[in-house]
Point group: C2
Chain length 353, copies 2
Amino acid sequence: MSNVKNNSEQTIIAVDAMGGDNAPREIVLGAAKVTLETSVKVKLVGDENIIREILDNTEYNSDQLEIVHTTQVISNDDHPKEVIRRKTDASMVVAAKLCGQGEAHGLVSAGNTGAFVLSSVKHIPRIKGISKTAIASVYPTQNMQKREDIFSLLLDIGANIHCSTKDLVHFAIMGKLYASDIKGIANPTVGLLNLGKEPHKGGEILSQVYKILTEMENINFIGNIEGNDIMKGKADVVITEGFVGNVVLKTIEGIAETLTHLGKYAFKHRLIWKLGLMALSGGIKQMKKVTDYSEYGGAPLLGFQEIVIKAHGRSKAKAITNAIKVAAKTHRDKVCTKIANEINQIETKFDIH
Amino acid sequence: MSNVKNNSEQTIIAVDAMGGDNAPREIVLGAAKVTLETSVKVKLVGDENIIREILDNTEYNSDQLEIVHTTQVISNDDHPKEVIRRKTDASMVVAAKLCGQGEAHGLVSAGNTGAFVLSSVKHIPRIKGISKTAIASVYPTQNMQKREDIFSLLLDIGANIHCSTKDLVHFAIMGKLYASDIKGIANPTVGLLNLGKEPHKGGEILSQVYKILTEMENINFIGNIEGNDIMKGKADVVITEGFVGNVVLKTIEGIAETLTHLGKYAFKHRLIWKLGLMALSGGIKQMKKVTDYSEYGGAPLLGFQEIVIKAHGRSKAKAITNAIKVAAKTHRDKVCTKIANEINQIETKFDIH
């Protein structure tokens, strides 16, 4: 799959140094750390003077760090479609180009999500047969007593609004191969988010997806799962259209906020609640992590020929280091190639629309 | 709107005595209490012998309680479509018929939700112009420090899967009039659940709904709201298609379960968490109430010419009493007539599909 010109086996990851609430400082520090801890080479894309200034006071391995100078930056307030057309020398756009042109094996940005998706779609080739890429969120479930296996993957969380049968089947394949890699398990379970367990539920598209996934040998499909199964970790991979995934993820995020708010209310009204919330703060932090995917290397954009990772906007150095490491591991483990192979197999076996 | 043959002003509510986990005992006790506390007349539909046996040991006002004998019962395990065709003398079906034929002003059941929706659709006329009825969930928000106004309404939560522009505009009208009545406020705020705040978000149908609701004078439309706004009580009424509403509601329910589960885990692993959860149990109960709509009189099925209330399957007597009282109040306040009038107004003003 990879067509990187550099012939050595070294993994190269392009990093948008200017995107994110804490950019460029935390991004540069995160990248610097990767060069000390791994053999990965980082191409830091952004304003060279600013990046050099941060690096001058930081330890890093200069053999593994290259700066690619750009003059423009995309902010969170920029309108994605318009800015991508206008700022062709933005760090995010240039980083995506590097990855698309084979100058890097993977891409990481903590910048404007919409613009990042569009930059990637524009400059990085999709896997053959895939018409829609998906953003996947890695979230911790209540299976936290089983320390080795507490994460699940929810996709799509907003790269698309609605999906066809084929898109959702592709999400199942992409999700299970990514989850298999990051969780280190052979056959992750896949669940289809629906409003009931029965195969016929949810309308024509979902019942078709149900039927196809049941027939597919390579998918460990456990059937329909409902909203209350998400946090239980009933499935390793939960597939749904982007609209639903987005609303569900933000609902969970909102509940963490509500619990915090209840604490403030309780302080005035019920001391026992306040004490409870203080004691529980560890648990609530755990819930907040659900959407703070920076702790798990960020949210992958799946469906491209190279690995693309969206780090959280609030990412600090540690989260960026993790995101780069995950991108490098995914590349080494050939996850995108495996996705391409399975998509190709079902194209010949199933007639899906 | 009402075409009840009984010409007195007494409100009559038909109650399915046999539906629900605690039926018939708790249903009968709840109905009996209504006759002591209000002037409402209850038509209890079910097995006369069993109902009489319960009533024999209960205080009630016999002038306000009539038993309508039926021989069949629909259970939660029954497949809705099939059972509605087969069991024509089921208590739920007969109660819906009474309401549809003008023998009652409202309908309450704690039985099989799918079968109840189908019974209502089959036997109770819809309001003219409305093609889809909706189930609305009343849920408490984090505004609980403002004691007078802590509830919001989410619809549809599963009567339908997908919706047209027109359906969603109708949901906004039905929701705001019902919320106005039960909350006792003149202009409840209405929010459209979406994956972003901007007017163009969410695809063609949602951006059309956004535009129409903005132009409508009678709706206090606050624009798009996101998943994390739901529990905050940002809008008094949240409108969405049934698939999304159902998944969101069950996700919230699942989180309450997850918190309880975390408590058990914490007991073994972190005593401080256990203590926190014990202290917080009041708060968690509050969250559990989100889906336990029995405490708020049940979930209305809106769009019919008479008020239809689905009480929670686990309803005890108190919840049934509340549901009957809410049905009676909604009838007295002419909520269904108000809905019909506003639907009629927009039909002539707007050309919506």
